[in-house]
Symmetry: C2
């Protein structure tokens, strides 16, 4: 947690109304930080349907392994998240720490160990002393409140400079439902997954299998389309829970992911996921500028995304953005190195609305002044037309600044 | 070209003896820089056998396209290299510039256009005005000298802080031959290729096809095993020429790449390529530390190399090195994101001779002090044992510093 808030931070936090069926509490357990909360407990008084997507790392953290196993049950009664220590690469001790935490949480809420989900974020490789917080879970389960979302988001921050919250509403069969989400993440951010931790809860009544389909589909153009530094965490966890409270309002039962009644909910969920994902990029370590990279005209959508990520992850593109340099030659370089089909003589590149290159060379009407003016903005759109097909993708990233180097050179995060 | 020489630079330049059959000259054409040379001409008075490897970028520069076409002839009489402008993404104008330069060089030395090779390095996307230097080639062809290697290396520098030269000798059938090479490159450096430009000349008598095999094999563990910033240039060019002058000393004719008489030459060539490649890393933009990443115990050698590159290209690993932070958790992260087979519980990691992690957790004898002492060195060895097979690879990189961001944010290079 930094003293200085990212200049790209939202001007205000969303006002987070309660979501029926989930309560939250936080504690300051002193796992690593002093004078701040570092443990979050979410309690579902009735079993909530659960879905999750996780890091593709071959060396996932102990909590990721734990969650994946419990997800087969599809039911959640408690979620415990700590910041300050990722419980990753902690071997047998790591598994002991998840087992101890889960047992304490299960006892606190009166559920089975298989209905508990865990996440940890922070330093990799240091043993996590779960005794520091497992003793407080009893108390947290009792004191947990419905109206506590912003505090929940604060407790899971590490190098984040602001808490990330978002809320949406939708109707299912005419019945209003709510979706709230929190996220944390600022570095070690790249698909897949692009966040370190995010927890989303709805009061809709949706079966776990359907929830999983919605989440798996929703993550592609949102959390898996943002990158800060191309590094993928061992701990990335995005979970979606449905408490089902809306069933009491007459929400019709959902029959499957293709159910037409889900249209509005699906759109609201995807919009919320995108909101949270972009908040993560806007808090990218050392970020001063937000960049949306759109590639169109690629062979197909997957190729477009790979080219867009090649541009978004290029240190030379990102330092040029930091330097407000309209260096479109580096965009060409990044297209070229992506390995995807591209024909130099068909490429066109825009910074904002300024076309800087077309037909394999600098735009005949190129204006350094106009291009430079775009680069001075805080939000910059880079668009590339490959000129070969109809594949399209947008990814989001931030600039690479000296502050990124400072944050990551000085701090064992 | 920077006023400050990299702290990792060699303490002295190799003394570069002439190589019979090749002469060089340079000129200050004012393409971009003031007060320095920016054009190099190499002249082979008799046709030299030619081999080359080039960028895998899908958007290669005009000179790369030009060289690839001429390489089918296998013979070189002249090489013209300019710095300050890459002649990349310059469309029709770019092809006109290569044609004009080649015609001027062919006229100057009295050869066919197909016996000329070209390379350009510098800004991408700006039209290259070849009239600036095509007029001086006549003069350069006459004034070119055998004893001019260090000056040649200086003329092709861009953001390099020192010229890169290397020389080796070997015997073929008892007859001594020499191999000299120059290279340039400091940023936009990643396999494949890892240098921007490098030219190597030997007086050995080796047919072009054999030369090509030697070069293609030699590049894997050398130029294609170094990375500064994971960005791949549109212009990367490594060429190897054999003047054949040693034939007059009685060097036996080479029958093929498997010829046993080539053993010593092959070893010397590979050693020279590695020398030049490491000089490029040691001049990495903003570099303060050199890192050798060795991965062993991977499923196979290719997997080992991909894991090693994942570590070497990770911004979080590179900033930790810059901060002298023995943050081996980030090494775990980079292993995990590589996509290659890895089992957390079998991993072991060393910084220098200090084992920091073993069997999926922190080494029981871990000493922060010992690990930190390693990180304070200028040359740092990171070794990872995956514990699964016998695949092995070493790659070289440098740290990621604020100076890298400064150089690339401030300078349209």
């Amino acid at each position: 947690m930094s003293a200085t808030v990212s200049p790209l931070a939202p001007k205000s936090y969303a006002d987070m109304p309660p979501v029926r069926g989930v309560r939250m509490a936080t504690a300051a357990a002193g796992i690593k930080y002093k004078g701040r909360t570092d443990v979050l407990m979410m309690v579902f008084d009735s079993p909530a349907a659960a879905a999750g997507v996780f890091t593709t790392s071959k060396c996932p953290s102990a909590p990721v392994d734990f969650c994946k196993e419990n997800l087969s049950g599809g039911k959640a009664r408690a979620v415990v998240v700590n910041s300050g220590n990722a419980n990753a690469f902690t071997g047998r001790k790591g598994r002991e720490a998840t087992a101890m935490t889960a047992a304490a949480a299960a006892k606190a809420v009166g559920c089975a160990g298989g209905e508990v989900f865990l996440a940890s974020t922070g330093v990799i490789g240091e043993p996590l002393d779960a005794t520091k917080f497992s003793g407080v879970l009893d108390e947290l389960a009792v004191s947990a409140k419905e109206d506590f979302w912003l505090e929940a988001a604060k407790a899971i921050m590490t190098t984040d400079t602001y808490p990330k919250v978002a809320t949406r509403t939708a109707r299912i069969g005419g019945v209003p439902v709510r979706i709230n989400g929190i996220a944390k993440g600022a570095g070690m951010i790249a698909p897949d997954m692009a966040t370190m931790l995010s927890f989303v809860v709805t009061d809709a009544d949706i079966p776990a299998a359907v929830l999983q389909t919605l989440l798996s589909e929703g993550v592609g153009p949102t959390f898996n389309s943002v990158t800060v530094d191309s590094d993928t965490s061992t701990s990335d966890t995005l979970m979606l829970f449905a408490t089902g409270a809306a069933a009491a309002d007459g929400q019709p039962a959902i029959t499957g992911a293709a159910d037409a009644a889900l249209a509005e909910f699906r759109a609201a969920l995807n919009d919320l996921l995108k909101d949270l994902a972009l908040q993560v990029v806007r808090d990218g370590e050392g970020a001063r500028k937000m960049v949306a990279v759109t590639v169109e005209g690629a062979e197909n959508d997957a190729a477009a995304k790979r080219i867009a990520l090649s541009i978004a992850n290029s240190p030379l593109v990102k330092t040029a953005v930091a330097g407000e340099d309209a260096n479109w030659g580096r965009v060409v370089m990044a297209v070229g190195k992506s390995g995807e089909m591209a024909d130099r003589d068909r490429l066109a590149i825009w910074f904002g609305d300024v076309r800087v290159a077309v037909d394999g060379e600098r735009d005949p009407n190129y204006s350094e002044q106009a291009a430079s003016a775009v680069m001075k903005e805080q939000d910059i759109a880079v668009r590339v037309d490959i000129g070969l097909g109809s594949g399209r993708a947008t990814v989001w990233t931030c600039d690479l600044t000296k502050e990124y180097v400072e944050i990551n050179g000085d701090y064992r995060s």
